[in-house]
Point group: C2
Chain length 263, copies 2
């Protein structure tokens, strides 16, 4: 259903207006998907409903196969580059946007109840950087993680930039967000998970850990890391590094850990 | 040697002017170091000479211990926030900058001649993204890599953003840049290195490779990867991933590979 838009103030494309400003204010139940790769992933995954698409005129033909995959009934708006930039409020180089619907968010308990007997989860504490959040999700999807639990102090994985950096993985790997990392840890333990905590001063080397049954690994923000009260309760693991250098980026750390523990 | 600067057009701080514009045009033998973490790493490493520093007034006292580590004879310019922003051409939130000197660049041959008998190198082909270049260097330093060979199609690891993302590692791990990835591969083989090529379709799993003697691993740009002519000549390695998802980020891939092969 291709529908032309000639006026940046057309009420049908109102949710796309002032994209950056709304990144900060929130979108009340919607999130923005941008770019071809991410949108293909979103359509393939099907975890989130897509409300509409907005495509630059000159990309309609090259993206015909993608547009053909859009379920009928979902409007695909087409606009000239000028109108598109006027809607978004800045030059939309990617030329393709979609509006996703958050729907009812899973709770950590629901996500854990659905986990298989042999499952790998991660838990995130205070990951406030969208690049890191996106990078962690990209790794989670690459290694087929079963779920991501995110504390309330972390940023939103459905934030526009986080989705883009994740290459769409934030729309693939199941996650639940809310509460304190201590609560998430309790929930994992109650669900029969072995919970490992990453720390530069971890007592065991990652290489010595065997993948087994239900396992979860917790990651803290770069710099502060996981809270001491969490590290005290759990098996702690480290990645051996050359002394004297700043520790690894948290997204890279997640890649190394998940590569080792993936089923 | 703390020297006050009151005029953004003071000729002594000329190299700091219009930072972003010069990122594009180049700096004729100089490079910019920004932020406390990176500058501490640069001073500790000592691989590159530092010509001068430029610090915001309000950071002089909190950074007194860093300033004390600056070799005498190197001017440390201090300026108000307003003057600093006027010099740089945009708000310099970090409030601390330094000008590094490239000096005479090592050639790949010189770097290889200095390699120990048990050495781990990487080779980079067409890594054009500064975030990825910085991320790869950060991993290289974290795992104590002996050297990085970079082809002429890759970006400059001493570009401002690449240094920042590397957390200063681009000023720590020795590298040499130039030529074609095929030439770099030849030079590694001639120096007695086993050369492994990473590819999503690699014939061997990373986990099966043993660290041994002189080894080097080649990485290509995300998307195209390494050229076919390179993959045909070498042992190729892959990281097993969940089918259907876009491949890992190249910086994360380097972290996983180096973690496995580090001495």
């Amino acid at each position: 259903m291709l529908l032309p838009i000639d006026d940046p103030f057309d009420p049908r494309i109102e949710p796309y207006r002032d994209i950056r400003e709304r990144d900060l204010k929130g979108r009340g139940g919607r999130f923005v998907i941008e770019g071809e790769v991410v949108l293909r992933t979103a359509l393939l995954s099907g975890r989130f409903a897509i409300e509409s698409l907005l495509i630059a005129e000159n990309r309609v033909e090259p993206l015909a196969d993608l547009i053909a995959k859009v379920p009928s009934g979902i409007p695909v708006y087409r606009a000239s580059r000028g109108v598109l930039d006027g809607i978004a409020g800045f030059p939309m180089h990617r030329g393709i946007l979609a509006m996703g619907v958050r729907g009812e968010a899973s709770t950590p308990g629901e996500l854990l109840a659905a986990a298989p007997a042999n499952a790998l989860f991660i838990g995130l504490s205070a990951i406030a950087n969208h690049d890191n959040m996106g990078g962690i999700f990209r790794n989670a999807a690459a290694f087929g993680l079963d779920g991501v639990l995110i504390d309330g102090a972390s940023c939103d994985p459905l934030y526009r930039k986080a989705i883009r950096v994740s290459a769409g993985a934030a729309l693939v790997t199941p996650f639940a967000q809310g509460g304190d990392i201590g609560d998430l840890c309790d929930a994992l333990l109650a669900a029969g998970f072995e919970v490992l905590a990453t720390s530069p001063a971890g007592r065991e080397r990652l290489a010595e850990i065997e993948p087994a049954g239900r396992q979860a690994v917790l990651f803290g923000a770069e710099g502060p890391g996981l809270p001491e009260r969490i590290l005290k309760r759990l098996r702690t693991i480290r990645i051996d590094m050359r002394g004297g250098f700043d520790s690894l980026n948290v997204a890279t750390t997640s890649g190394i850990v998940l590569h080792h523990l993936a089923r």
